[in-house]
């Protein structure tokens, strides 16, 4: 029974009479060259609902002159689902079409029909241009593995300005892409001239063909467009896309050097550095060579440097991409000199295929002068290094000499702990840690003594803390409209602030004491009034005098006090 229900549930979509109505609408109706538009796709299901859309962005056709982008906006009401797609009209006037495609909904796939729209030409004498992106690529045959730099120029329109871009990606399987340099000349440009096309933004993309033949380069992305309208400025995202066919070939096998390591492009030999120009014999040194240029630097294998009579060479190391410049690559070799004297480091050669000249070329790094100190190994007769020969056996006596002392008892104290210096790093770090602790304690002690010699600093610091606390309370009371609490907090703050100035207990200070300690206070009347209110509340019964209006005067006094305490 359970299996039957499962089958019925699975066949439900087939059995039901689903009929979907798909309508598309382009807004605005009348489009100018390069004008952005919005395409509304409305899907209405009369049978079972097609459900929310699952995938559409990857299904949209990539067209050279009509960039499309699913904005992510969708509206569902009952059995109707509306999707909004933003696009840009082509520059050429006439009738254009957006081919049909498939949108994947949760229940089934729905075919979106072809959409046609008309682009009318600009009226004579009317200059109306929209912001646009232009792809610039070299016009030639490319090679597999080559790194091709494509530039996307973002050009402003007459009433629009491009402020940024994002999400540039390749949708071709046979092309690998990487956004590299983002050139933004407008950052230093004159703002008054910001709408001119000279100040356009540029994005650089690295494309690497991975397959020979005719390859379709499909790039898409989004740009931020700022529109100047009568109602003010309006910011919008706008898609752009490119679809361009390029020819890709394999690098020629004819005249290919044996040491070619996959480099395609134009390379220049950069600086050569040596870690030590005066090593001892057998002492390793580092030789670093740097190549620069416009080539597929990431794909180049390190040139091989063979062992020789003079040098032992260990395989090259390379810095990770994050630690080097984009247009540079450095190979480091460990060289070990085998003979003393004035030597030259082995030459490092790198062959590459230059697509411009369509020929293989080679760069060579100049050998470096090295002075190797030490003695040359003696020439040893082969018989002497016969592994079967017993070393020193001829002159020395046999192993059965009798000078060995007989062992005494081996009982006694034993240990498994290694010597203290067996792990020197542990010992050193523990001692440094203890020294650090001691240094910390001495600093603390010195500070304590200094504060002991200058007690006024501590008094002022304590007074400052009490003053700020009371000041906060006074502000809170003022906000709450609590006159009693406000007066009490103000008086507490004034007393706390003045106490270290007259070296007296704060609780014993009167308004006159405070005015004597701070003759520069600008509002003595307010000080007296607030004291009367506070003391009156405590000693003279209920007081009705309103002192909240004195808040700003007292605040000024407290600020003066705080500045004096901080001085």
């Amino acid at each position: 029974m359970r299996t039957l229900f499962t089958w019925l549930w699975l066949l439900t979509p087939l059995l039901s009479q689903a009929a979907d109505t798909v309508t598309t609408k382009i807004t605005p109706d009348s489009l100018g060259p390069g004008e952005p538009f919005r395409m509304e796709i409305t899907v209405t299901s009369t049978g079972d609902f097609a459900g929310p859309v699952l995938r559409i962005a990857s299904e949209l056709p990539v067209l050279e002159f009509i960039p499309l982008r699913f904005s992510g906006q969708r509206f569902s009401a009952g059995n109707t689902c509306t999707l909004l797609i933003s696009g840009v009209a082509p520059e050429s006037p006439g009738l254009h079409r957006i081919p049909g495609f498939t949108a994947t909904f949760s229940v089934r796939k729905i075919e979106i029909p072809e959409t046609r729209f008309f682009v009318k030409a600009n009226e004579p004498g009317v200059q109306r241009g929209f912001a646009k992106a232009v792809l610039e690529m070299p016009e030639r045959t490319f090679y597999v593995g080559e790194t091709v730099q494509a530039l996307i120029h973002f050009k402003h329109g007459t009433s629009e300005r491009i402020t940024g871009f994002y999400g540039i990606e390749s949708r071709s399987e046979t092309i690998k892409s990487r956004s590299t340099v983002i050139n933004n000349p407008e950052d230093n440009a004159d703002p008054a001239n910001s709408l001119s096309s000279e100040n356009s933004k540029i994005a650089a993309i690295e494309l690497t063909p991975t397959q020979a033949g005719e390859v379709d380069v499909r790039l898409s992305g989004m740009m931020f467009v700022e529109m100047n309208q009568s109602a003010g400025q309006l910011n919008r995202d706008r898609p752009f896309s490119f679809s361009r066919k390029i020819k890709v070939a394999h690098v020629p096998e004819k005249n290919r050097p044996a040491d070619w390591n996959g480099a395609v492009g134009s390379l220049i030999a950069g600086p050569v550095s040596l870690s030590n120009s005066k090593p001892g014999i057998g002492e390793p040194i580092n030789l670093s060579v740097t190549v620069t240029g416009n080539a597929n630097l990431d794909r180049i294998l390190a040139p091989e440097v063979p062992h020789g009579d003079l040098w032992d060479v260990m395989p090259a190391n390379d810095k990770p991409r994050a630690m080097r410049k984009d247009s540079q690559r450095t190979f480091s070799y460990t060289l070990i000199p085998r003979l003393p004297g004035n030597l030259k480091t082995p030459g490092v050669r790198l062959s590459f295929f230059n697509p411009e000249t369509k020929a293989y070329e080679r760069i060579e790094f100049a050998p470096q002068d090295v002075t190797v100190t030490g003695r040359a190994p003696e020439k040893v007769e082969l018989v002497a290094i016969d592994p079967a020969a017993t070393i020193g056996a001829t002159e020395k006596a046999s192993l059965r000499a009798t000078e060995l002392l007989n062992p005494t008892t081996t009982r006694g104290s034993t240990r498994t702990r290694p010597n203290l210096l067996a792990q020197p790093s542990t010992l050193v770090w523990s001692q440094l840690g203890l020294l650090g602790l001691l240094a910390g304690a001495l600093i603390w002690s010195a500070r304590r003594d200094w504060l002991h010699r200058h007690p006024e600093i501590l008094r002022r610091r304590t007074a400052l803390v009490a003053l700020r606390k009371a000041r906060r309370l006074s502000r809170k009371a003022e906000r709450n409209g609590d006159t009693d609490a406000h007066a009490h907090a103000c008086v507490t703050a004034l007393r706390a602030g003045a106490a270290p100035l007259v070296e007296a207990k704060d609780i014993a200070l009167t308004a006159e004491d405070i005015l004597r300690a701070m003759p520069e206070l600008t509002t003595p009347t307010s000080v007296r009034a607030i004291f009367r209110r506070a003391d009156g509340t405590r000693f003279g019964g209920a007081m009705t005098a309103e002192t909240l209006n004195l808040h700003s005067d007292i605040e000024r006094c407290l600020k003066q006090m705080e500045e004096r305490l901080c001085a």
Binding site: L405, T410, S445
Partner: protein, 251 residues
């Protein structure tokens, strides 16, 4: 004689720990170094290592013709007890008659051999911290230095100055290793293709420097410097018996 040795070996297999030492020494005196070695190794596994035990093992290894293992035992025995007479005699014997090369001790190392390595380290640390704390403690308590403090400072400083060469000698003697393989040679470069420089004998002691590409740069007793494979040498310091070359290396 053989009967007696067999009896001793039979007893050794199930003997309690306190008897193993006697059995081992008797076997050694009887010329059965293998049985002696077996018992001393068992004692080390049961009770732990000591300088006397290592030096005794060194003697037995030497008699069995395993020069590398014998030198490791004696050097390690001296690193635990610098005055161990059996180890000292063994090394003198090996260098004078046994064909083993050992670098001449520097004056710091000779100075350091008066006490155990740990003793030098402890004296240096103790005198240093006495010096530092005697100076710092009154400051932490906001008091002035008294005469006692000054005497203590002077004593600690003197002790520190006297102990520094010992600690330094201990440090340099730590950087030594013993050649364990018989067919090993000193190479010019730390590679498989490294050019042959000089032969190395099993049991030779070398001063070690830095490591590169699975090799160690070493200095021989004659001052010659070159590279040798890491697995061909074993450190002169340690609290374990010499490693077995037959067993696979520990991960």
């Amino acid at each position: 004689m053989r009967l007696m040795l067999m009896l001793l070996a039979g007893i050794a297999s199930g003997a309690p720990a306190q008897d193993r030492d006697v059995i081992a020494r008797e076997a050694y005196l009887a010329g059965d170094s293998a049985t002696a070695l077996e018992n001393w190794s068992a004692l080390i596994a049961e009770e732990g290592i000591s300088a006397a035990r290592l030096s005794a093992m060194g003697n037995a290894e030497w008699r069995l013709g395993r020069k590398g293992r014998a030198m490791v035992c004696w050097e390690r025995a001296l690193s635990l007890d610098a005055s161990d007479p059996v180890a000292r005699a063994g090394i003198i014997h090996a260098t004078s008659l046994g064909g083993v090369e050992r670098p001449r001790a520097t004056w710091q190392e000779q100075y350091a051999s008066a006490l155990n390595p740990d003793t030098w380290t402890a004296i240096t640390l103790l005198s240093f911290w006495t010096l530092v704390l005697t100076w710092a403690w009154p400051r932490l308590r906001a008091k002035k230095l008294t005469d006692t403090h000054h005497k203590l400072l002077l004593s600690a400083f003197t002790l520190l100055v006297l102990s520094i060469p010992g600690a330094w000698g201990t440090w340099t003697s730590r950087e030594r290793a013993i050649v364990r393989l018989t067919e090993e040679s000193l190479k010019l470069t730390p590679t498989v293709l490294g050019e042959y420089l000089a032969p190395l004998g099993e049991g030779d002691v070398v001063r070690t420097q830095r490591h590169l590409n699975g090799h160690i740069r070493v200095e021989l007793s004659g001052g010659q410097v070159g590279w040798v494979r890491e697995e061909a040498v074993e450190s002169a310091w340690g609290v374990t018996p010499p490693r077995s070359l037959d067993a696979p290396a520990q991960p």
